[in-house]
């Protein structure tokens, strides 16, 4: 019996000794050690044509290099493309490429490779693909020159090419992208990777810009559960991850650093049925304005969102050229005025509306929304659908309005999402001739003239009460003291080159 106890004791000791040596987080010094990150959503696909533009980018960044990098203002800076130029009509973009880059399978990264990638991505169904749909043709006059032809001027194109849509994979891997082959700073270590759980990346010894990536290894875990993610951060298993608002206090108390970033997403009540097909009242701008007056956005942000948001009345964020500061004062919380507007439009007794139930994910938002709409006489009936049906149902045009959040740091992307007739988040294809004229004006112009047109469109959308925005969402990123991280609002999470080992 004594022998067994000794054995059990030795085993426990071995486990705890091993615990001291485990963890393998980033170390300061010449070698950066391992950078341990976590992403809450599983990787969709290694095929860039199917790629999402959100959390997928974190899995892609180690292996795929992009044509540009984006600085903290969203301006493109050189990466695989060293210079770029538009023609006067803004429909031809000429790129000059680096000439010293090879994919990890030995294929040179040249103009033909970029052409193959852009045409491949454009043909896909992913979010990244949607951002480069205006590309009509790509030409490769010589090995380091790429000419991109656009069917219509696309002000957001350079920013899109600085992200997933501009990532370049080996042309040989495009047909069957079971595992990624790129030219990025790391390669996927397939033997250490468990698909769906953990992706391990080893250094690419031939990368052209090695100094920008000081870590020897990058380990990205997929952890969807908030508790597991928080525990992994607190126990030192992770060096960085986005965290939910209700976990911020816990990670701060555990000694982790937190940074907030605003990726240009605006949440609130989105009015899908501006034509009044489902709920005729919504065709009247006065009714939509009443909806804007109905919400106490300051309290929603303070209570339901724990302060993680900036109340707003517009869809464009303060770092965007389209932002108009004074517009945020347009609809101050005023239920009496809301009721008066409804009465003026002929709806003194309010109206009934069916909205999708979002209590499984955003219970506080839903409670605030239903209560405050009820206060002005709008009776909400909640449709209990599985959450996986939430977005498909909206896209299918099932609801007149609902809670939603979308947007981007680039105002053109926001316009394409919510204003354009075929915009993804304009599911009932509402069209406004004046808004269309302003969009055309934006696409034809540059500089101050373009900014003026953006602001004019923004003002028009707010006055028309396109939606009833509540706040500009703020995301929080937590990082360990072993790393230094610089945030960039133009990426979903800090880009990989913004991570460095801490100085001491």
């Amino acid at each position: 019996m004594k022998r067994k106890l000794i054995l059990a004791g030795a085993l426990a000791l071995a486990l705890s000794v091993s615990a001291c040596g485990g963890g393998g987080t980033a170390a300061a010094g010449k070698t950066g050690g391992t950078l341990n990150l976590a992403v809450s959503q599983a990787l969709k696909s290694w095929d860039l044509a199917e790629a999402g533009n959100g959390q997928d980018q974190e899995y892609y960044q180690p292996v795929f290099d992009s044509l540009f990098r984006l600085d903290s203002k969203g301006a493109p800076t050189a990466n695989l493309a060293t210079s770029w130029e538009y023609d006067k009509a803004l429909t031809t973009l000429t790129l000059k490429l680096r000439t010293d880059v090879k994919f990890t399978d030995g294929t040179p990264l040249d103009a033909e490779a970029v052409k193959a990638n852009l045409m491949h991505t454009k043909a896909g169904k992913g979010e990244a693909a949607a951002l480069v749909k205006a590309i009509s043709d790509v030409q490769a006059p010589d090995s380091s020159t790429v000419v991109v032809k656009l069917s219509t001027p696309t002000p957001s194109l350079l920013r899109s090419l600085g992200n997933v849509a501009g990532m370049i994979a080996s042309p040989k891997s495009l047909a069957n992208p079971q595992s990624p082959v790129g030219s990025g700073p790391y390669t996927l270590d397939i033997s250490s990777t468990t698909a769906g759980t953990e992706y391990v990346y080893a250094v690419n010894p031939n990368y052209w810009n090695k100094d920008a990536f000081p870590f020897d290894k990058v380990d990205i875990k997929t952890i969807s559960d908030r508790t597991a993610l928080t525990n992994a951060l607190l126990s030192g298993q992770l060096d960085g991850s986005s965290v939910a608002a209700d976990r911020i206090d816990a990670v701060k108390a555990g000694g982790l650093k937190t940074d907030t970033v605003s990726p240009g997403v605006v949440e609130g009540l989105y009015i899908w049925d501006r034509k009044g097909t489902i709920v005729p009242a919504l065709a009247d701008a006065r009714v939509r304005q009443a909806l804007n007056y109905a919400f106490d956005t300051a309290s929603i942000v303070k209570i339901a969102k724990k302060g993680l948001g900036t109340p707003t009345s517009q869809h464009f964020t303060s770092d965007s050229g389209a932002f108009v500061p004074g517009l945020d004062q347009t609809y101050k919380y005023d239920p009496a005025k809301a009721k008066a507007l409804l009465a003026e439009a002929g709806y003194a007794n309010g109206f009934d509306v069916v909205m999708p139930d979002i209590s499984s994910l955003f219970p506080e938002m839903q409670a605030a929304m239903v209560e405050q709409l009820g206060n002005i006489g709008i009776r909400v009936k909640l449709d209990k659908i599985p959450f996986d049906q939430f977005m498909p149902s909206i896209l299918a045009g099932k609801y007149a309005m609902s809670y939603f959040k979308t947007g981007g740091t680039d105002p053109w992307i926001t316009i394409q999402l919510i204003v354009a007739k075929q915009g993804t988040w304009n599911p009932l294809h509402f069209e406004d001739p004046h808004a269309n004229d302003l969009i055309a004006q934006i696409s034809r112009s540059t500089g101050d003239e373009q900014t003026k047109a953006y602001q004019e469109l923004n003002t028009y959308l707010v006055k028309q009460a396109w939606n009833a925005p509540w706040d500009v969402v703020k995301d929080t990123y937590a990082s360990s003291k072993k790393v230094e991280v610089t945030m960039n609002p133009f990426y979903n999470a800090p880009p990989l080159y913004n991570f460095k080992p801490a100085a001491n």
Binding site: L15, S18, S192, T197, L229, N231, A232, P386, D388, T424
Partner: protein, 313 residues
Amino acid sequence: MVVFLIRRLLAGILLVILVASATYIMLNFTGSDVARNIVGETATPEQAMAKAAELGLDRPIGVRYFDWLGTTFTGNLGKSWFNSVPVSTTLLTALPVTLSIILGALILSAMVSVVLGSIAAVRAGWLDKSIQVGAVLADSIPGFLVALILAMVVAVNLGWLPATGFVPFQRSVVEWLRSITLPSIALAFGATAATTQQLRGSMLDVLRLDFVRTLRSRGLSDRRVIFKHVLRNAAPPALTVLSLQFIGLVGGAVIVEKVFGLRGIGSIATSAAVQGDAPVVLGVVIVMVVIVVAVNLIADLAYGWLNPKVRAE
């Protein structure tokens, strides 16, 4: 014995077919638009319909069912509708995770319950009462709470073991053991309580039997009487409880996997069921039923080993 084995195997196969068929039929009534979920939010209705046709979802349910049954019988579980990964590959990745923590929990549960059950039965008095009260308490504490406390105290505060993740056995035995220790303890908690109670009760029954008095009168030591004779005779009912616990542990693993960030059968089944990824859900169901049938068979064989009377019957 051979006839017994064949009968159990045939019953097992029938059970697999029945459960999988029932699952298949139920999956068709979830109301989820799988084709739309697959092609994504930005696809047109035509693309969604084309996807439905590609998956064969536009055919009558009866045709689809027999088609699926035929393919499955050839050993082909198909591919995930969402990521095209073969179901067998997904299961081979997830099964080691879940089986590791369940096996760990069963071993822990068996070891601890033998020690506690024997002490409670033999020593009686305050020690017995304490163990009984402790078992009731342990049985009433939800597994997810134990998992949360273990993760917070042992992994986060003390830093002794990892808070999340699974390391495959073949990559590092020590790291594998470290990665499954906390999830296994969390899972074993309730199972140990029930098995301890069962073992204590059946040991008390055996201790009252004549043959025990006879063995003692022959001068055999207490330790030999208890561990060689009493425990062996008292074990079958406890083994039944333990084998039933296995099925419960599969369900409990879903929560424990979530808390420890493990991608095991539980999390695979949950996400596949939410998405409506029928091939994956059916693959999981088939594999789990096969395992449950196998565990019951092993338990039956173990009775025979423990008690020759059963073998003769």
